[in-house]
């Protein structure tokens, strides 16, 4: 959930910057496509976020199967 939020924040930022660069470029040239790659990047982030979340949820399901809980306090086996 928090990871999703972090990635979506970046998405918003990218779109905003994209718009900003585009509007600067449009003052000289109306048809300018400058700044469009920022919006393209957003699609890549969405795809990667989906892949990452699916792996993350699978790991959590794995833990649930072994401990019958998703309480993180069970996860202290690796401390010295």
């Amino acid at each position: 959930m928090c990871i999703e939020l972090m990635l979506n924040a970046t998405n918003l930022l990218l779109v905003a910057f994209s718009k900003m660069h585009n509007s600067i470029a449009c003052t000289t040239n109306q048809q300018s496509l400058l700044g469009i790659e920022g919006q393209l990047f957003v699609f890549f982030i969405m795809v990667v976020a989906a892949a990452e979340v699916s792996v993350g949820l699978a790991i959590i399901v794995l833990i649930y199967r072994n401990t019958h809980s998703v309480d993180i306090n069970f996860l202290n086996r690796l401390k010295n």
Binding site: I3, A9, T10, F41, F44, I45, A51, N66, R77, L78
Partner: protein
């Protein structure tokens, strides 16, 4: 381009081979053959033969340096497959999937060696990391493996978030994702003044890459993850993935951000000092060899960071040599570790009597890691430090690094001492086939050859 396409295809082939083949041994052999095909395809590209011509709009730029690095990585992987293949297929019931995931990681590596755009950099990092989260948790019934996977996933995604924020900020100030865009100077004729964004973005990128290569003070996940993951995959993560991450780190910061000035150098020196200090000092106190190796890999990353400091030709050669020396030795040590029944130092007691070949090769690998002359590790460290001196690094920092190389001798020699000078029962190690011994001896021979003729690797690079 060949390596990227073929490695992704190999991954798909491995996934299908799990349907078609039932024998684990056959799957392992298919994986080795696929890897050989990958090496041939990569060599073909070095010598100018392309399978497909793709116009990447300058998002990928292939240099002979990057392709050669690919080759070193692939050759290390083939040693890894040959020595640890048996353990890989025995981790769980899905033997072919592990190989498929490893091939996807290699695809990420081959993108990371040729990116010329922050978009490709991001994609490469993600293709590299996501299969690793799965590999870490592949021992499904083991709670330690699950915990390691969750920790790795959370830390990895967190650093991805920071990475993306850094990229977004740099984009905001320069208006381009390209590495060849004029450094951090704005390419948009300045209407708005957004100059402060770029340095902040760079620091974010720096932090997230330090996370990925587990440099102190961003190393907290590494020992836990390396300890919890199945030994074979720890070996893969600590060598091949780490070297590729460092390569990307160096490539990113030496190409795009040359003129960052003294503040960046200071940041880097702090990172190197912390990494050497924390990695070496904590490794001294470990009781388990696996955990000791995790900390030692943090310390070795500290040495590799010297090449980021110096950024000259010598450093580029040093990275190649260091990657080869460190990866080969660590793959060897881990493949022996996977045969041991007890991972503590005492588990190695009396190994010299019960299995002299294992003990001998393990000794050579450990000597190479600690940087004793006549092994590859010595010249790797030597190249790194020499390049740093040539780049005007202060002598104190170099002496500091040498002092910590001496500290590292202590914990590597503890293993050697346990193997040769302590009595132990003979049943500490699983029986190993003859071909495995032969592979280990060949690997040890290679390390010694690289230690005596370090230029042989570099000559191959130049011709």
């Amino acid at each position: 381009m060949n390596a990227i396409i073929i490695s992704a295809l190999c991954g798909v082939v491995m996934m299908f081979s799990s349907i078609l083949l039932s024998s684990k041994l056959a799957i392992k052999n298919v994986a080795i053959m696929a890897l050989v095909a990958l090496i041939i395809a990569n060599l073909a590209q070095i010598y100018g033969w392309y399978s497909v011509q793709v116009d990447t709009k300058n998002m990928l730029a292939f240099s002979s340096y990057g392709l050669f690095f690919n080759n070193i990585i692939f050759i290390c992987t083939i040693f890894y497959f040959l020595l640890s293949g048996r353990e890989i297929v025995n981790v769980g019931s899905d033997a072919a999937e592990y190989f498929a995931l490893i091939f996807f990681v290699l695809c990420g590596v081959s993108i990371l060696t040729c990116f010329n755009n922050l978009l490709m950099f991001f994609i490469g990092i993600e293709i590299l990391s996501i299969p690793l989260y799965i590999l870490t948790g592949s021992d499904k019934k083991n709670l330690k493996s699950n915990e390691a996977a969750l920790k790795y996933f959370l830390m990895g995604s967190f650093s991805t978030g920071i990475l993306l924020m850094g990229i977004a900020l740099i984009y905001g100030s320069t208006g381009s994702f390209g590495l060849s865009a004029s450094g951090i100077k704005s390419s948009v004729t300045g209407v708005y003044n957004v100059g402060i964004l770029a340095p902040v973005g760079l620091v974010f990128l720096f932090i997230s890459m330090a996370f990925k290569i587990s440099a102190a003070p961003f190393h907290f996940w590494a020992p836990d993850v390396y300890d919890g993951a199945p030994s074979v995959f720890t070996s893969f993560m600590a060598t091949i993935v780490k070297a590729a991450g460092l390569f990307a780190f160096i490539k990113l910061f030496s190409e795009k951000f040359e003129d960052l000035g003294p503040s960046f150098q200071l940041l880097l020196v702090v990172l190197i000092v912390c990494t050497l200090l924390v990695g070496n000092l904590t490794a001294v106190f470990q009781q388990s060899v696996k955990r000791m190796l995790a900390y030692s890999s943090i310390a070795q990353a500290g040495f590799m960071l010297f090449s980021l400091y110096s950024k000259n030709e010598l450093a580029k050669e040093g990275v190649l040599l260091y990657t080869a020396a460190y990866s080969l030795a660590t793959i060897g040590i881990f493949s022996i570790l996977a045969k041991m029944k007890d991972y503590s130092f005492d588990g190695y007691n009396g190994l010299a009597k019960s299995n002299p070949i294992l003990a001998l090769t393990n000794t050579i690998f450990l000597l190479s890691l600690s940087g004793i002359p006549l092994t590859a590790g010595f010249f790797a460290k030597y190249f790194m430090l020499l390049s740093a001196i040539k780049a005007g690094c202060s002598l104190a920092l170099v002496l500091f690094a040498v002092a910590f190389a001496a500290v590292s001798v202590y914990y590597y020699f503890r293993v050697i001492q346990a193997m040769y000078f302590k009595e132990g029962d003979a049943n500490t190690v699983e029986p190993v086939p003859f071909s495995y011994n032969l592979g280990l001896l060949f690997l040890a021979g290679l390390i010694i050859v690289l230690g005596i003729f370090p230029t042989s690797l570099l000559n191959w690079y130049y011709f």
